[in-house]
Symmetry: C2
Subunit: 202 residues, 2 copies
């Protein structure tokens, strides 16, 4: 059998990625396998390796799609120039996304490349794009053009929010009186920004 390609008008690669994403959303990264993808799309396992080098590449590309969707959702909240509020909006949107896409989002951190492998540029660019949103929101707190400090603060805060969301989704951060992750993120952002204000001025 050959020449099937045109079936859905979508390229085979996209069909594979769509099926893969579906699997991860349903069963987590552990449920993903070349054979399961093949089963769903009605191809044989070998076919996947005609399109991608290996499963890691498939995973990485699914992740890229997730990052794109996250970026799109964050884009819905336009910064208004008030750092705390803008950052809280971003943080909440981020948290909402991680909960609405828990398994897909967990994948980004459960998955690790084999030893030698490097994170591809097109992946790193997507991370930077997300960070740029945080930088934009936080920038008013710093002297104009102090890009180094802005970049650091954005990464610190972003990583912090990520840590909360991460531990929260994995349920590794419970407290007797279950404080919602949302409150924790508000707490982090509010206090961090307040702290910045004591040392830094517009």
């Amino acid at each position: 059998m050959a020449r099937r390609q045109e079936q859905g008008s979508k390229a085979l690669g996209e069909i594979i990625l769509a099926a893969g994403e579906e699997i991860v959303a349903e069963a987590g990264l552990k449920g993903l396998s070349a054979r399961e993808i093949a089963r769903r799309i009605g191809y044989s396992p070998g076919t996947i390796y005609n399109v991608f080098d290996n499963l890691d590449e498939v995973v990485l590309r699914i992740e890229a799609g997730v990052l794109d969707r996250l970026d799109a959702e964050l884009g819905a909240t336009a910064p208004a120039g008030r750092p705390r509020d803008d950052l809280v909006r971003l943080g909440r949107a981020y948290l909402a996304f991680t909960h609405a896409n828990a398994r897909l989002w967990s994948m980004l951190f459960e998955h690790t490349l084999p030893d030698g492998a490097e994170i591809p540029d097109w992946y790193r660019m997507r991370l930077d794009r997300l960070l740029a949103r945080v930088e934009t929101a936080i920038a008013p707190l710093f002297a104009h053009g102090d890009q180094a400090r802005i970049g650091e603060a954005a990464r610190v805060l972003w990583a912090g929010v990520h840590g909360i969301a991460s531990l929260s989704v994995a349920d590794k951060l419970t407290i007797i009186t279950r404080v919602p992750a949302r409150d924790m993120i508000d707490n982090l952002i509010t206090n961090y920004v307040a702290g910045l204000a004591t040392s830094q001025d517009v």
Copy 2:
């Protein structure tokens, strides 16, 4: 062949865990397999299942050992009653540990339990023990006995530090001018604590 148990004076379970930890330290969670453990300790794969229910249990117990070691290292830095300094000391010790034990520590977050499974109590207790250290260090910033707020702040800060260390080890947080994770953690703690001071008082 039976009755080998006493060989190293250590119980078989401990031998398995030691071998497992060695494997993860060398090759990461992906390198761990029942068969590889068996190979190293000179037993057959089946033996491991006489001691543990499944590999997840082995992993969880290795993780518990790592948490114990981390706790021991954090214990070396006794709090002096100055929150910012105490917290920075904790944060740096934490970061140092994660870098000295990168693969073992990454395991804690790469590994996820199958769908139904719950995190065991003896595991959760170890997390709480770590958090208690942060609570102790941060407590002076709050009104005596305000345990709820102390608990929340400790978790917020701890998760934040975790996020930085996590993204840093995974190399997912680079900035043009590579800011060291150590500076980022100092930055987070300093500003968060300063922010707390503006709203909260002793």
